[in-house]
Amino acid sequence: MNSSIPFDLQRIRSDFPTLQRQIHNGVPLIYLDSTATAQKPQSVLTAMDEYYRRSNANIHRGVHTLAEEATAAYEGARQSIAQFIGARTAREVIFVRNTTEAINLVAMTWGRTQLQTGDLVILTEMEHHSNLVPWQMLAAERGLRLEFIPVTDDGLLDLAVYQQLLEQGPKLVAFTHMSNVLGTINPAKEMIAAAHQAGALALVDGAQSVPHLPVDVRDLDADFLAFSAHKMVGPTGIGVLYGKEALLNAMPPFMGGGDMIKKVTLRTFAANTLPHKFEAGTPAIAEGIGFGAAVDYLKTVGMQAVEEHEQTIIRYALERFAEISGVTVIGPAAEHKGAVLAFTMQEAHPHDVAQLLDREGIAVRAGHHCAMPLHERFKLPATTRASFYLYNTIEEVDRLAEGVEKVKRMFA
């Protein structure tokens, strides 16, 4: 079954301690919830452990050995991540807590200073709450206009409407590169080019694309890109805001405090240079180091290989699910789709499906997946979502399909 898979899947699986776990008295775990958060390979855990056990120290201002080691490891991670996404310099890589903070940072600094009453921001109907609520908050504060690119019944963005919206002279287009529910991979490069043509900046929510596809900010020409380590085999508590250096330089600082300053008097401060200007207080040091190790792990596997593996999986899963009557998968056909399978069952509610699958060791998610408006669009209160990553197998898809069939029988 694994013949078409271009990398050593068993080897990869053995790198992830959690995947060896059994739950409910000996049922092996089948983890199909990587869209929510990915499992971590041993190398990431080791990198953080090494820091804590050997070099644990605060960074940047220290001259003692531990502080220098910690600083080198943390800033080395930033370099590694900068290279992973094709940034021009590590100064364009701002460490934040997660994708959500990255987007809020842009809204609260760039948005607050650059957007005026009546300015238009274009979003889409398939956004995660993290790329909706910050703009709603800013819109309420500043009197912005928000417009939304509709989602077609097939789960694609309606790009004709996007073109019309662009004619209204937006200041910003903010959209997800890959939907965490539909799996839709949006044509980011073309959408960004069109935004630039219309004089707008483009912010890409890369929470799902950076973990699953090769993403190059220079190729995309993205102005901002937000992503989270925990969704790409890295630790919780850290993510990145990428921004073009000139834009970041022109933005006011975000939070005030240690490290983001060059000089402070009682009543005034001068901001530090990039990237520190946006990183106030003691950063997530161990997490930055773990994020670097995560990116190194993905580099070793190769993002092209990750993408191909997931394509194999999702094609098979779509075929397999098409055979189960009463089950509806939402989202586009495989060629426009990452390895996310959100579905409904005629007979059973998503929460019951997820809970009953859990009894079989299968971890899937049920609910609105932080995309309530998208569910509203499809008139669904909730869906069950199975999502796949580099460590998942075709056999696990079979187990999932069998589990769904079993639930169906229970509720028949």
């Binding site: 929460h351 019951d352 009953l356 079989e360 609105h368 209160p381 909730a382 639930v407 509720f411």
Partner: protein, 136 residues
């Protein structure tokens, strides 16, 4: 697979005994669990002594939410309003006869929350109605 879903839950979900609305009613309340879209309305009639004579629920949602509503209604019929106000999380868990994690607990407790908010005549249902300890 089905140890958590005792037969009675699936049964009551598929074929509830107390589904409907009552008009007129003495108490009514409706609430939803926005996380999963579960929605429950409960109508209650009581006599002058405060004894519950009739009750019915409507709404939609998962098996746990709907079955627990049905079982809850069954259990409050003939009880005094004041006693029902005192019902707790544990009473619902006893009715269902299964263990539940924090997320599913919300599904299970929705109907009790709705019933109590109705009986107390509240404008809004609070989690504190069904949860005495620190909640997640």
């Amino acid at each position: 697979m089905d140890d958590m879903y005792r037969e009675i839950i699936i049964e009551r979900y598929k074929d509830p005994h107390y589904r409907g609305t009552l008009d007129p009613h003495d108490y009514t309340f409706e609430d939803e669990n926005p996380l999963c879209g579960d929605q429950i309305r409960v109508d209650v009639r009581a006599d002058e002594a405060g004894m519950i004579t009739e009750a019915a629920f409507s709404g939609h949602g998962c098996a746990i939410s709907q079955a627990s509503a049905d079982l809850l209604i069954e259990s409050i019929l003939g009880k005094n309003v004041e006693d029902v106000k005192k019902m707790t999380k544990q009473d619902i868990l006893d009715l269902l006869g299964i263990e539940l994690g924090p997320v599913r607990l919300k599904c299970a407790l929705l109907s009790l929350k709705v019933v109590k908010a109705g009986l107390y005549g509240l404008g809004e249902a609070s989690d504190a109605l069904v949860d005495d300890d620190e909640e997640f």
